[in-house]
Amino acid sequence: MAPGVGKTYRMLQEGQQALKDGRDVVIGYLEPHDRPETSALATGLEVVPRLRTTHGGLELDEMDTDSVIRRKPALALVDELAHTNTTGMRNAKRYEDIDEILDAGIDVISTVNVQHLESLNDAIFEVTGVRVRETFPDRILDEADQVVVVDLTPEELRDRLRAGKVYPGERAEVALDNFFRQENLASLRELVLREVAEDVEARRQTQSLEPLVQQAVAERVLALVEPQPKSQRILRRAWRSAQRLDAEIDAIWVRSGDHQPTEEELTQLAALRRVASLLGIHFLEVPGDDLVDTVRKVARERGSTYIFVGTPDERRRTEILRGSLLSRMVRELPGIDIRVIADRALREEAEE
């Protein structure tokens, strides 16, 4: 609901309970906020070491997403979902790191304050006068299996502040007179309760749909890219189609095992990752020596129904020996639609 209500504490309680139940639990990232009770509750839970980064001369800690995925626990506890990562990290936002962990088949419990929810940004500004910069998309809440409200009355929260349980002395005083005013907290509480009530109603309606029907109609787009300028167009076209289909979208670059990207390819990859991040596309870099075989595996894992691919740039010899890339894709990816993204300028050239 708001800072200091006990979200991290509640997350750790859930983690301890899961550990007792025999689940493999790790702390992916914990922000103890110098609160002794919170730190104490983390005792006994394995902590994946953080990643030390430097930015503008400052040393900063971030979650080591790759290490969490490599460790492959059943459940990872990741604090502060709306956090913005240090410049230079693979993902700009922690919720994108969490997406990757979820994609690796690891359950995640995370924490977030209601004021970070993108669709409530204006409403929060109206009631508190504070424009929150770090927001996260509403889909995160929609996709969560469970949303738990950590509720505290405004009076109780202000008491916690006064007791120094949220911020130290002077900072607490300032907070009490600003963001943590009684009326602000009451409004935030009302917003969060309303949001969760709507979420519960939406889940009730969704669950009443026959799961098989949902599975049959759901589309998921997979765009095959390479570190080349033409892949920008593939991503854009795939995104437009995904918008119309109301579908999730993944992009994949299959990197052959021994291939070391050139400087130009690294620039192209960075640009592709950037536009993918802006368009909400999950970008995957997967090693593999056989493109079609790798795509087949990824498409199965991700539940892809629609593949976007650029015009193949193949050597004649490969085509003769192994069959053309497209004919192999059609043959080896049954049940998946395939769309070849052409260069429209070539069409006009052919007509001339």
């Binding site: 936002k93 500004f125 910069r133 080349q228 260069d343 300028a345």
Partner: protein, 158 residues
């Protein structure tokens, strides 16, 4: 033909000419001029649509409507340039203002030249103050092109 193919792949040229545009507007005469410069310099054209993100949203918020505006424009630029045999490497960048978006863009990549359309009458696009900033802050040679006011302006391409 081989030369043309190599250039389309984007591997045959190393010079990169950035042509940024914003607020749903790109003047056709400016685009034509940028294509002519790219052809003369055997360069890759980098059209970049700058999406302005209001402060209430994160910089990487999903600005779907803006993307819907940007994508056809980028496609149109790509088609026009490819038709002339100019390699294209399009970008979308976000920022609070056009100059902020430009800074983010050239912090990430190098450009040898920047070709910017000057404001034309009441058309949207770059504003005089932004161009002034560009001239003093751009890390590359910058050309500001003023479209021919007698020609019809194209502000979107479907």
């Amino acid at each position: 033909m081989n030369v043309l193919t190599r250039r389309r792949d984007g591997t045959g040229s190393t010079r990169r000419i950035l042509i940024p545009f914003t607020r749903g507007h790109l003047d056709k005469t400016v685009l034509d001029a940028a294509i002519r410069i790219a052809r003369a310099e055997d360069a890759t054209l980098v059209p970049a649509y700058l999406i302005l993100v209001p402060l209430e949203f994160a910089l990487d918020a999903q600005m779907s409507q803006e993307f819907e505006r940007a994508i056809p424009l980028l496609e149109a630029v790509e088609t026009a340039a490819s038709r002339e045999g100019i390699p294209v490497d399009a970008r979308i960048e976000t920022g609070r203002t056009p100059t902020h978006a430009l800074e983010r863009l050239w912090d990430a990549e190098h450009f040898d030249r920047i070709v910017v359309p000057a404001p034309a009458g009441r058309e949207p696009g770059f504003r005089p103050k932004e161009l002034e900033w560009l001239l003093t802050h751009a890390p590359s040679e910058t050309v500001i092109l003023r479209p021919d006011p007698t020609l019809r302006l194209v502000d979107s391409v479907s």
